[in-house]
């Protein structure tokens, strides 16, 4: 109890409060700029944390990341430029809401569902961190392989355009992810002797090209619209009823995101994609998905931030980072003498409790800061269409360039923008391509490792209990789609034959 009171005292210090407020504002700013990620915001903060005490240093990272992830939803909702790979899972849905005149509600859902998800993740982190971390550590390459495959399968099967087109889009993404050094031997694949290609295809320029550039091109030909004909209203108007209506989705997304986030390496990206798929699967109105329906947004938004909080579980308990952000944070913890590990909870409990309190503040701050950001961002819709198109292109250029400081990435943005333009014109979904690029390396690494361990015996993929469960679930998902498609086809044939007899 003393430790908790001391922790409150540390957090209440003016320096810590000022750091939380400033880092949140910085995260909001960076996250809202298309192409700049939460990881980049965190990395930029590290030099500043050199001069801080341990708790404010970690507080800066926690609050900046939480805010940047949520702020990434703003360009996603308003301009169809996802801020993070996780928000790419529901970018089309959120943008469809904006085009229906519900942009304010979409942003409100993103902000509040993220805050609730983040708090849920925090609660789990506070009470079950050691237990969850132990479970997570039991995951081997077999479980990770199935988890990645399940995520890819779900995203593909629920995508618009049908299984055939969704699968081809996913395979395209997986192919793009294989360009560059292979994870096992380090040999170059499909690089055609190019040094730039040997580093692989960065997903940030890929996302910008596929979502933003393709939208500008579609708008230019009159087959799309770069700017929705609507204004952003109060983001919290009507929000309560949506959250109450989809409370199960909110809980499911938060819980699932926490579990996924606690797995080192899986991170929130996979959580948001699977959550969105689950939301459609369990929905009473799955046909509304993709048309600007808030249900998937609630679940995936909550999953996104709960995973972010939960990613700190393996980071704090075992020093194993859950994602890129916590990898940076683990470095800062070491630098400040707070070596991650079980002893952190016994030797420095007040500092850990202080960090946990910061989680709560950071997630609560999202609501007023998010509201302010939305109010400021609504001026975007008052801009004339041609100026907005110019501004979007300026952000596309700088966002693609800045991630690696290379012109090559602008070329990647252009190439993938053209690909997405072609794909959308021919009813191919583009989200599975992005997921393939993001999750492909995780899938390949774990697949190859498992194959080596199993000496090529595929049955070994079902020998461990959790792996077997995930494997069976993946097979069931695919089987249900194939059987469902076959049954639908037969029914359609029968109806056509029936129609032929009547006429």
């Amino acid at each position: 109890m003393d430790a908790i009171l001391t922790a409150f005292g540390i957090v209440a210090e003016p320096t810590t409060i000022a750091v939380i407020l400033a880092a949140s504002l910085f995260g909001l700013f960076v996250g809202a700029i298309p192409g700049l990620s939460a990881t980049m915001a965190t990395a930029l903060l590290v030099p500043i944390t050199f001069y801080m005490d341990p708790v404010p240093a970690i507080a800066a990272i926690v609050s900046c990341t939480a805010m940047a992830i949520t702020a990434g939803d703003i360009p996603s909702v308003m301009l169809r430029i996802p801020g993070t790979p996780a928000s790419a899972a529901y970018t089309n849905e959120a943008y469809a809401m904006t085009r229906k005149g519900q942009g304010g509600l979409a942003l409100g859902i993103c902000i509040v569902a993220s805050a609730i998800g983040g708090l849920f993740g925090f609660a789990v982190l506070a009470f079950t961190a050691p237990l969850l971390a132990r479970i997570a550590l039991n995951f081997s390459s077999f479980e990770y392989f199935w988890l990645a495959l399940l995520g890819l399968s779900c995203a593909t099967l629920i995508s618009s355009g049908g299984v055939m087109r969704g699968s081809l889009a996913l395979l395209l993404g997986l192919f793009i992810s294989t360009i560059g050094m292979d994870p096992l031997t380090g040999s170059a694949r499909f690089t055609f002797g190019s040094l730039s290609l040997s580093g692989g295809i960065s997903f940030i320029p890929a996302m910008i090209g596929m979502f933003a550039l393709s939208e500008v091109l579609r708008g230019g030909t009159g087959s799309g619209a770069a700017k929705p004909m609507t204004e952003i209203g109060n983001p919290f108007a009507g929000l309560w009823s949506v959250l109450v209506r989809y409370r199960k989705s909110l809980f499911r997304g938060s819980a699932f995101g926490t579990v996924i986030g606690a797995l080192p390496g899986a991170g929130g990206d996979l959580g948001a994609w699977i959550s969105y798929s689950m939301s459609k699967k369990f929905s009473r109105t799955p046909e509304k998905f993709g048309t600007g329906h808030p249900e998937g947004l609630v679940e995936a938004g909550a999953s996104n931030n709960s995973a972010l909080s939960a990613a700190w579980i393996p980071a704090m308990v075992f020093g194993i980072p859950g994602d890129a952000v916590t990898a940076i944070a683990v470095g800062v913890l070491f630098m400040k003498g707070l070596n991650p590990g079980p002893q952190l909870f016994t030797e420095n409990p007040e500092r850990i409790y202080a960090v946990l309190i910061v989680f709560v503040i950071a997630n609560l701050l999202m609501i007023p800061y998010g509201y302010m950001a939305v109010k400021a961002a609504r001026y975007i819709f008052r801009m004339p269409q041609h100026l907005l198109t110019g501004a979007i292109m300026a952000f596309c250029l700088v966002g693609s360039f800045a991630i690696n400081n290379t012109v090559f990435d602008i070329g990647i943005m252009l190439a993938l923008g053209l690909l997405a333009w072609f794909m959308e014109a021919h009813r191919f979904p583009i989200a599975p391509v992005i997921l393939g690029i993001v999750i492909g390396p995780l899938l390949e690494q774990n697949f190859l490792t498992s194959m080596i361990i199993a000496r090529g015996d595929l049955l070994a993929f079902f020998e461990r209990p959790i792996a077997a469960g995930l494997g069976v679930l993946t097979v069931v998902v695919w089987a249900s789609v194939i059987i469902g498609g076959y049954v639908r086809g037969r029914r359609q044939q029968a109806q056509e034959a029936e129609g032929g007899r009547i006429t």
């Binding site: 031997t185 100026l387 300026a394 700088v398 390949e444 080596i452």
Partner: protein, 150 residues
């Protein structure tokens, strides 16, 4: 222009075969049945399988009715042409002439072709470019190519 599913499906099949051939040629790990070519081979097989399926679907629907060929007019292709052509030029000149000049010119061209006016487009393009450059340089410590101005 809409390309029929049959053609797209067949393109995936051909691409899959080419990818499969390239993947088979990759060196494996000594004594292991896995190697750098395994995932690309699986992807290639998927291209052939699903591409073939799409081609078959396209063939069936082509029997019912051929989709009308719609060719976009020059007017409709004006914006994409400037956006894409301008980007190719931008990639070529960004480092020699610098971010400020190249981005201002490119953004102004995009605004102009999208229906804006030259003067207001140039002013807006210069303002947004300067703003971005200032934020990256001063707030984030990320210098953008200076080119002829540096």
């Amino acid at each position: 222009m809409q390309i029929p599913d049959l053609i797209i499906g067949l393109a995936f099949v051909v691409g899959g075969i080419a990818l499969g051939m390239a993947s088979f040629g990759m060196p494996g790990l000594g004594g292991q049945m896995v190697g750098p070519g395994l995932l690309p081979t699986i992807v290639a097989a998927g291209f052939v399988l699903f591409g073939g399926g799409l081609a078959l679907q396209g063939l069936k629907s082509a029997r019912v009715a051929l989709p009308p060929l719609t060719v976009l007019s020059w007017q409709a292709l004006r914006v994409p042409t400037v956006v894409i052509g301008g980007l190719l030029l931008y990639i070529a000149v960004l480092e020699p002439i610098g971010f400020l000049v190249a981005t201002t010119a490119y953004v102004a061209a995009v605004i102009l072709v999208s229906g804006g006016r030259l003067v207001s487009g140039l002013i807006f393009a210069a303002a947004i470019t300067l703003g971005i450059d200032w934020v990256f340089l001063n707030l984030m410590g990320v210098p953008l190519p200076a080119g002829i101005i540096g």
